[in-house]
Symmetry: C2
Subunit: 319 residues, 2 copies
C-alpha cells in the first residue's frame, strides 16, 4: 500500500482497515454500521478499555505497527481473561497523523486481528480520526459463560497465591533495548509482543480462584491492588519465584537484580490469582506466596516477610 493516511482519506482508511478483519460466530454485526452487535450468551458482558500513546507506551523505532497491535490487543484481552471471562470482541479508537504511511495502521490492524484470533475474539468496530500523536484506544469485551467474575476483592487469609504466564520478560527486554541491544531475542520479543495465558483466566475461575488480576504494572503492584481491595496482606516467597538463568545473565550484564524485573516488571500480562488452600492447581500454576491477615501496617505486599523496597509499580503520570 502506497501513500499516507491523509492521502487515503477517512473513508478509504476505514474501508482498507475493515477489509483486513475476520469474524467469529460471536460477531452478529461487524464494522460498517452505527454500532457492532456481539453475542453475549451469559447475559452479562465484561468490558475493559486501555489507551496506548506513541512515545509513552510504544516507540515506532522499537516496535513494528504489527507488534503494537498485538500488544495493544493483548493487554486488553488479558484484562477480560483476568475476570474469568472469555474474550469475544475488540473495538479500536485510533488517532493517526495525516502524514503517517498508510501501511502503519494496516499493520496495526493485522496485529490486533491476529492477537484477537489467539484469544478467540474479533475486531468488530472502531473510529479513526486525524491528530498529532498516534493513539490506540482499545475496548475489549468478553463473556463469562456462567462463571462468576473473579474480582480483586475476594482474597482471604490462608489462600495460596499462584501465577501462570511470563514474569519480568518484557522488563528485561526493555532493559536490553534501552541500552541499545537487540538481543537476547526471546526477551526483546517478549517486550514487543506479550503472550498472556488467556485460557488461564476462565480456568482459574473453575479452579475456585478467590481473586485474580493480570500483571500489567508489575507483580508487587498488581498484587497490591488485590491486597487493598481484599483488605489482606500478601506475602511472596522469593525462593519460590523462578528467575530463568538467561534473565540472570542479562541482569549481570546490565547490573540489575533480575528479581526486580520479575517482581516489578509489567506488560507480560501473566495472570496471578489467589486460591483456597485446598485448591488442586495444575502444574502450570506456580504457588509463589500466601495470603495473610492485614497487620497493623494495613493491606500490603511483602516479600519474605518484608516490604519490597526497590521501586515498584508504575505511575503513568510519572516520567
Amino acid at each position: 500500500m502506497k501513500g499516507t493516511v491523509g492521502e487515503l482519506g477517512e473513508f478509504g482508511l476505514i474501508r482498507e482497515l475493515t477489509s483486513r478483519l475476520t469474524a467469529t460466530p460471536a460477531v452478529r454485526l461487524g464494522p460498517g454500521d452505527d454500532a457492532a452487535v456481539v453475542a453475549a450468551p451469559d447475559r452479562r458482558v465484561v468490558a475493559s478499555t486501555d489507551v496506548l500513546l506513541e512515545g509513552r507506551h510504544f516507540r515506532r523505532d522499537w516496535s513494528t505497527a504489527y507488534d503494537v497491535g498485538r500488544k495493544a490487543a493483548a493487554q486488553n484481552l488479558a484484562d477480560i481473561a483476568a475476570m474469568g471471562a472469555v474474550p469475544t470482541a475488540l473495538l479500536l479508537g485510533l488517532v493517526v497523523p495525516a502524514e503517517l504511511p498508510a501501511t502503519w495502521p494496516m499493520e496495526l490492524m493485522d496485529g490486533l486481528r491476529d492477537e484477537c484470533d489467539v484469544a478467540g475474539a474479533a475486531v468488530v468496530g472502531g473510529d479513526v480520526v486525524r491528530g498529532e500523536t498516534i493513539t490506540v484506544a482499545i475496548t475489549a469485551l468478553g463473556d463469562l459463560r456462567n462463571r462468576q467474575p473473579v474480582t480483586r476483592s475476594g482474597a482471604r487469609p490462608g489462600d495460596m497465591v499462584a501465577v501462570t504466564g511470563w514474569l519480568g520478560w518484557s522488563a528485561a527486554g526493555f532493559a536490553v533495548l534501552s541500552r541499545g541491544f537487540r538481543s537476547p531475542r526471546a526477551f526483546v520479543e517478549a517486550h514487543r509482543r506479550p503472550e498472556p495465558p488467556y485460557h488461564a483466566g476462565p480456568a482459574a475461575a473453575d479452579l475456585g480462584a478467590t481473586a485474580m488480576t493480570d500483571v500489567s504494572d508489575g507483580l508487587v503492584a498488581d498484587l497490591g491492588h488485590i491486597a487493598t481491595a481484599s483488605g489482606v496482606r500478601i506475602d511472596l516467597k522469593s525462593g519460590d519465584i523462578d528467575v530463568p538463568a538467561q534473565m540472570k545473565d542479562i541482569g549481570q550484564a546490565v547490573g540489575v537484580d533480575p528479581l526486580q524485573w520479575v517482581l516489578t516488571g509489567g506488560e507480560d500480562h501473566a495472570i496471578v490469582a489467589t486460591f483456597p488452600p485446598d485448591a488442586k492447581l495444575p502444574a502450570r500454576w506456580r504457588v509463589i506466596g500466601e495470603v495473610l491477615a492485614a497487620g497493623t501496617a494495613g493491606p500490603q505486599v511483602t516479600v519474605d516477610g518484608a516490604p519490597w523496597e526497590r521501586a515498584g509499580g508504575f505511575d503513568h503520570f510519572g516520567e
Copy 2:
C-alpha cells in the same frame, strides 16, 4: 478541586473520577477492577467507539469540560440508539496533559455521567493516561431487548424517510460561535450539547424501521450511507423539511442558506430512519422523503430530484 492532573497523579485522578459516578441496576461490577461487568439480557451486546480530540472536535474556549462530556457521551449513546438498542454503559479512554487543571477531567466526567443518566446508562470503567492532546475515547454499550438491530442496509424502494430530533441546530450554533457571537443561545447551546432522541431508536425499531442511523455527519451524508448500504436512491422533499424561523434569521445575518445547515450540519444526532409506506408514525416523526430504486447514477441522495450540490458530509481527515 485544586491543582493539576499531574499533581493529582494517575491513581488519585482515577479515584476522584470514579467517586463521581452513579450506577444503574445493569452495572454488575463498576470501575476499579480489571474490567467492568454489565447486564446484557438480550444475549447480544451493541457496541460503538468514537474518539474526540481537542482542537478538532471541541475547543476549550467554546465548550466547558462538562459540555464536552455531555457531547462525547451523546454521540456514542446515539449510535447505540440508532441500532434500535437501549444504551446501558459507557467506558472512557482519556488522555490528559499533566498541566491540565484537575477540575477539567472532573467536569468532563460529570458531563459523561449526566448524559448517561439521560439515556439510562452508566459510566462503568476506563483508562487515563498522560499525553499532549486531550483525547476522549468513548465506547458505548447497549441492549437490544429482543429487537432485531436496525442496520443501514434494509431500506427498500417505496419506504418513507422520516426523522426525529434536531437538524442543523449545532451547525447554526457553530456558525454563530465561529463569527465571534455568543447568541442566539438556543443554537449555541445546541452546538455545545446535543440532545439526541435516544428513546426514538428502539421506538423506530418497534414501528418497523427498515434502516436507521443517527445524523452525526449531516443528513445528506448519513442518508448517503443508508443509500449505499441499501443500494437505493433516497429523495428528500425540501418543502417537507422544517427550517425554524430563528434559524432563517441567523442564516440571513451570516449570509448562509439555513437549509444547508439542516441538510449537511452534523452533531445534532437526530435519528433518521426508513419505514414501510404503511407504517403509522407518531407526530414526532417528520416524513421528509422517500426511498426509490437506484437509477443509473447508482445509490445516492437527492433533494427534490437533484443531487445536493453544496458541500456536504464531513471527512475528518480534511481541514
